[in-house]
């Protein structure tokens, strides 16, 4: 499951390169790929909503008393929390597969903030501009992204404000860190929000008219974020950090999804343009994307296998990834200048 994204992206990139003979075909294939995974995201989000409804029903059956609910239905509640976490991962992985594309296209970038990357309204920039209405009528104004600000810390117990009671979910005799029952009202409202905004993204993505400027802009905008994500990876609990978010799975899974999206956009939609005017440059960019994806994939493979990284190696991997990403961006900027393409933003 963990490397499905990389597998899918690699397959699609090579398939895209094989079939996208023209820029137009490439752009359409990117759109079709994104819509396909957007549909899958909606399906997984709906399943998450069902799981949240089940969880809320168990709590409601005990008059909203979490302690009583845990005493009455420990097994069902534990299964319910596990189901929510599993659905969160399934939905998140579908989104991560297309995040590099969604966030890179100006007309859909707002959904990346709402679903995955946005800040709460208390921050000055990068705010997810939406309000979340919960089943009890409470309106959370600009609460941050649905995946990483709300649901991930909620489901994995790092959002201390919404922990209701500690619970030995895995039945090992003690409530370990993260083993908690959390606010059912927020869980259900966020899951409903996830479905709503995933559908809204689908509508706007379906309306998107693929074009050259957007394709170049997506690659130039999103590829350099690899360094930021590596930084988050180093800070995450997977490498012994104390970040509240990115506890569900390694940030490298996100990196793979995002960089895979950038690679797909390049190989399918940008490469046909660059190759026409400068085949050598196109070959160099293609090679650099392969190198970047390989670097992240290898690192994730090793992490998944339980290998540890020295501080220098983790730093070197991040620096190398950033260098390759900056090289790609510089090369794409050369191609943009030569082809009169406008990079937005």
């Amino acid at each position: 499951m963990r490397l499905k994204i990389a597998m899918t992206m690699t397959t699609v990139v090579f398939a895209g390169a094989a079939f996208a003979a023209t820029e137009e075909q490439g752009l359409e294939s990117v759109k079709a790929f994104t819509l396909e995974h957007n549909d899958a995201l909606i399906v997984e989000a709906e399943k998450m909503q069902t799981a949240a409804e089940d969880y809320a029903a168990l709590i409601d059956a005990n008059g909203g008393d979490y302690v009583a609910a845990w005493a009455a239905e420990p097994q069902k509640l534990a299964e319910s929390v596990q189901a929510l976490r599993a659905q969160w991962l399934a939905a998140s992985n579908q989104y991560e597969t297309i995040e590099g594309i969604v966030a890179g296209i100006p007309s859909t970038a707002k959904y990346d903030l709402i679903l995955d990357a946005g800040n709460p309204g208390t921050e000055a920039e990068g705010v997810a501009e939406f309000d979340l209405t919960l089943p009890d009528g409470t309106v959370l104004e600009k609460p941050g992204s649905l995946f990483h600000t709300i649901t991930e810390p909620l489901f994995w117990g790092t959002d201390k404000d919404h922990v209701k009671v500690e619970a030995d979910l895995n039945g090992n005799g003690s409530a370990d860190p993260g083993e908690v029952l959390f606010d059912a009202n927020l869980a259900l409202g966020a899951a409903q929000g996830m479905v709503k905004w995933a559908k809204a993204l689908r509508d706007d993505m379906a309306a998107w008219e693929p074009n050259r400027d957007d394709a170049f802009t997506a690659v130039v905008t999103m590829t350099p974020t690899v360094g930021d994500y590596f930084g988050e990876w180093k800070e995450s609990q997977f490498l012994g950090g104390d970040e509240a978010a990115f506890v569900a799975q390694s940030r490298l899974i996100d990196v793979l999804g995002i960089m895979g999206g950038c690679q797909l956009m390049y190989s399918a939609a940008v490469s046909p343009v660059v190759a026409t005017s400068d085949a050598a440059l196109d070959s160099a960019v293609t090679n650099d994307f392969d190198e970047l994806i390989a670097l992240v994939s290898e690192t994730r493979e090793r992490e998944a296998a339980g290998e540890t990284f020295s501080a220098e190696e983790a730093d070197a991997l991040g620096s190398e990834a950033q260098d390759i990403a900056e090289r790609i961006v510089s090369q794409v900027l050369q191609a943009a200048a030569k082809n009169g393409v406008e990079i937005k933003g």
């Binding site: 970038a109 707002k110 990068g126 930084g231 190198e291 994806i293 020295s310 991997l317 190398e320 090369q331």
Partner: protein, 733 residues
């Protein structure tokens, strides 16, 4: 499910294709060496060693195929490759990291020779291919070399100019990368990262070699000896890095053009400002609250440092350059420790940048505006798409501030109607095509309008950047003064004529009018000078001053017209009171207002014209246009002697009424473009450039309503006279 074997096999499969060309081989060698370096971090194992061996073989095969095409330069690469191969086979991680960088530098140097030779032979295709074996500008986004080679291929640039541009960019990038490598080496030494440190030293040595005679000529014999000694000492003593920094502190491989220097200075200011913007959002009370912002703050600091490296050698006050470097270093230290105190460092750095590179860095001017406007519009679009409408509105005002005055001043003399059309697109637009202001207010998609404005701005740039002939400049100059001055001349002439028709002596008013004119001109220049040197006058404030002055002038004029037209009979007393307002003081004030309202902007237009037109042509136009406006005024005054008094009085009254209505339209419009009152486009009123330019009639509800109201007020005396007459007629019948 294992992705790694699949990727490796795919990449191996692709390798022979890439290695068929020498530039493809160089690229393959670069990435294989990177893979090997990552493998060397892992613990020794049979699988790892086998993979390293395979990759070394791939490198050897690639080089074997490509080497003959590198010509005489292949020897240097052969040597570097042999060193690299030996260090990897010896499993010496640090030596391998260093020799990897030296190998890449040797490949780049060899490719550069081939690229420049291809350029000299006017073979743009080969030059372009060889140029892929190089480092690129990370922070400044230079693309001049690629575009020069493209121009060579198109036949629009000769080989010598292309050679110079390409060589200049390659050397400039190498110098930037050299500074970055020194900075990274210092960091890696401090963090105790021996392998990365060795790689950094290899990069420094390799880039110093790549810069070759350009650097050695700068350093001189003694400097070169010191550099060699410092490089050797740095192997064991990172303190030697500071000596290297000092040696190359004043080094710039190519003197930047003034335009390029300004572009980099603006980037330096932008990146420096962003450091605090991001850090302030990313770190609170010593904790990282927003990781992405925190990392971006560090990235922007690094970019600022790279750009500063390009600029320092060309700063007149080297002490300021050193201080900037120290400030950036302090920022880095504080950010690494997640400490407070970054903001004052950024503020001091910005002040130094502005003092060192002049106001153009801050104020921007036309070149900055045409660069910044599309980017600002893009940001606006992104904010609107994200549903951040208040942010989008702020961006709209920022975008408008780039258009007016920087672009507008240059465009008005050449295409006044186009200026009005573009300006309207930033605001309410038209009923059929709402502008950005209206779209944002109604929270509607802005992409189409943003694209339209960009197209218009491109068209405007084409007009502005087309060279203007001396005759053209004179005509443009005449057009400005005639258009801006005619209204004032007509008002004053018609008023004098009407006063004379009323039996008042015009000579009483000559001195106050002259005083008003002179005062208005002095105030216009004073305001222009103050806004340039003493304080910042925002676009919106300027529009508000213009709009407010026009409305004040309209009020005074309307009052006077009412006074002059008030009928006799039972309104005689009222008429007498109104007529009393036409005294020298009010007439002088009116003269001041009507000239001052356009005076400041006219000075700005002339300032813009003088950028690309000769002073002589502009002066001829100024005199000619001014004379034409004065002739129009004289015709009005002279016609008073020919026409019957009653008819002439009516004509001047109508003319003054029209001018009052024009002033009201311009005034309300000014307040709308100052964002002080709303603007509602209407479909029923004609959208014509000439109506807007010459009569202040815009297809917008608010100014039209105000103009209708003014017209109604001005018609009151006539209505007043009509009413009793009809009553008498009614009673008689």
């Amino acid at each position: 499910m294992r992705i790694l074997p699949l990727l490796i096999s795919l990449i191996f499969f692709a390798m022979p294709l890439r290695a068929e060309t020498p530039w493809g081989a160089a690229d393959a060698i670069r990435s294989e060496a990177g893979r090997i370096e990552r493998l060397l971090y892992r613990g020794q194992s049979a699988a790892r060693d086998a993979e390293i061996k395979d990759r070394l073989q791939q490198i050897a095969t690639s080089w074997e195929q490509a080497a003959p095409q590198f010509g005489a330069e292949r020897d240097a690469v052969d040597s570097a490759l042999a060193d690299y191969d030996a260090s990897v086979r010896a499993d010496d991680q640090a030596a391998a990291a260093k020799s990897r960088q030296l190998l890449w530098a040797a490949l780049m140097a060899a490719a550069r020779v081939q690229a420049l030779a291809a350029i000299d032979a006017s073979d743009a295709q080969a030059a372009s291919d060889w140029l892929t074996v190089r480092d690129y500008a990370r922070a400044s986004g230079d693309t001049a070399a690629a575009l020069a080679v493209q121009a060579l291929g198109d036949g629009t640039l000769d080989a010598a100019a292309t050679h110079e541009t390409v060589e200049g960019e390659l050397l400039t990038v190498a110098a930037s990368e050299l500074r970055l490598a020194i900075s990274r080496a210092k960091e890696d030494a401090a963090a105790d990262h021996p392998t990365q440190y060795a790689g950094d030293l290899g990069r420094i040595e390799g880039l110093a070699g790549y810069l070759g005679s350009n650097l050695t000529d700068h350093l001189g014999d003694q400097g070169n000896a010191q550099l060699e000694q410092a490089l050797a000492r740095a192997e064991t003593d990172p303190a030697a890095l500071s000596d290297i920094s000092t040696l190359i502190a004043g080094y710039s491989p190519v003197r930047l053009s003034p335009e390029e220097k300004l572009r980099r200075a603006r980037l330096l200011r932008r990146f420096t400002a962003l450091v605090w913007e991001e850090y302030g959002n990313g770190v609170r009370n010593g904790e990282i609250t927003q990781p992405l912002e925190y990392y971006e703050a560090r990235l922007f600091r690094d970019r600022a440092a790279i750009i500063l490296g390009d600029l320092v050698p060309q700063m007149q006050d080297t002490a300021q350059g050193e201080r900037l470097g120290a400030l950036l270093a302090e920022m880095k230290a504080k950010m690494d420790a997640r400490e407070d105190g970054v903001e004052p460092l950024v503020a001091e750095a910005l002040a130094i940048i502005e003092a060192s590179f002049g106001e153009a860095v801050v104020q921007g001017g036309y070149e900055a505006a045409v660069d910044a406007l599309p980017a600002t519009l893009d940001e606006l679009q992104l904010m609107a798409q994200a549903g951040d409408w208040s942010g989008a509105e702020l961006k709209r005002l920022e975008a408008y501030s780039w258009f007016d005055p920087d672009i507008e001043q240059r465009l008005v003399p050449r295409a006044p109607a186009m200026t009005l059309r573009i300006e309207a697109r930033f605001w309410e637009g038209t009923a059929a095509r709402p502008g950005l202001g209206k779209l944002i207010e109604d929270q509607l998609p802005v992409a189409e309008e943003v694209a339209g404005i960009k197209e218009d701005v491109l068209a405007a740039r084409a007009k502005i950047e087309t060279p203007v002939s001396p005759i053209g400049a004179a005509l443009q100059s005449a057009g400005i003064v005639f258009r801006e001055g005619l209204e004032a001349v007509l008002i004053i002439a018609a008023l004098l004529a009407a006063l004379r028709a009323e039996g008042l002596q015009p000579s009483r008013f000559r001195a106050p009018i002259a005083a008003g004119l002179v005062a208005a001109l002095l105030f216009s220049f004073a305001l222009w000078a103050a806004a340039r040197w003493l304080f910042s006058l925002s676009t919106l404030a300027r529009e508000a001053i213009e709009g407010g002055t026009a409305l004040l002038a309209a009020a005074v004029l309307t009052w006077m017209v009412l006074g002059l037209n008030a009928g006799g009979g039972h309104v005689a007393n009222f008429r007498a009171k109104l007529a009393g307002i036409a005294n020298p003081w009010t007439v002088g004030s009116l003269a001041f207002l009507v000239v001052f309202r356009e005076g400041f902007e006219t000075v700005l237009f002339y300032e813009a014209m003088l950028v690309d037109a000769s002073a002589g042509s502009v002066l001829i136009g100024l005199v000619g246009g001014g004379a034409a406006a004065l002739v129009a005024g004289w015709l009005i005054l002279a016609s008073g002697r020919k026409l019957p008094l009653r008819l002439f009085f009516r004509i001047t009254s109508v003319l003054l009424s029209i001018l009052a209505v024009v002033l009201v339209g311009a005034g309300i419009r000014g307040l709308q473009t100052a964002a002080l009152i709303s603007a509602t486009p209407v479909a029923w009123f004609p959208d014509r450039d000439w109506l807007q330019l010459w009569f202040g009639l815009f297809p917008v509800a608010e100014p039209l309503a105000a103009q209708a109201l003014t017209l109604a007020i001005l018609a009151l005396p006539w209505l007043w006279r009509q009413l009793p007459r009809r009553s008498r007629v009614g009673r008689a019948s």
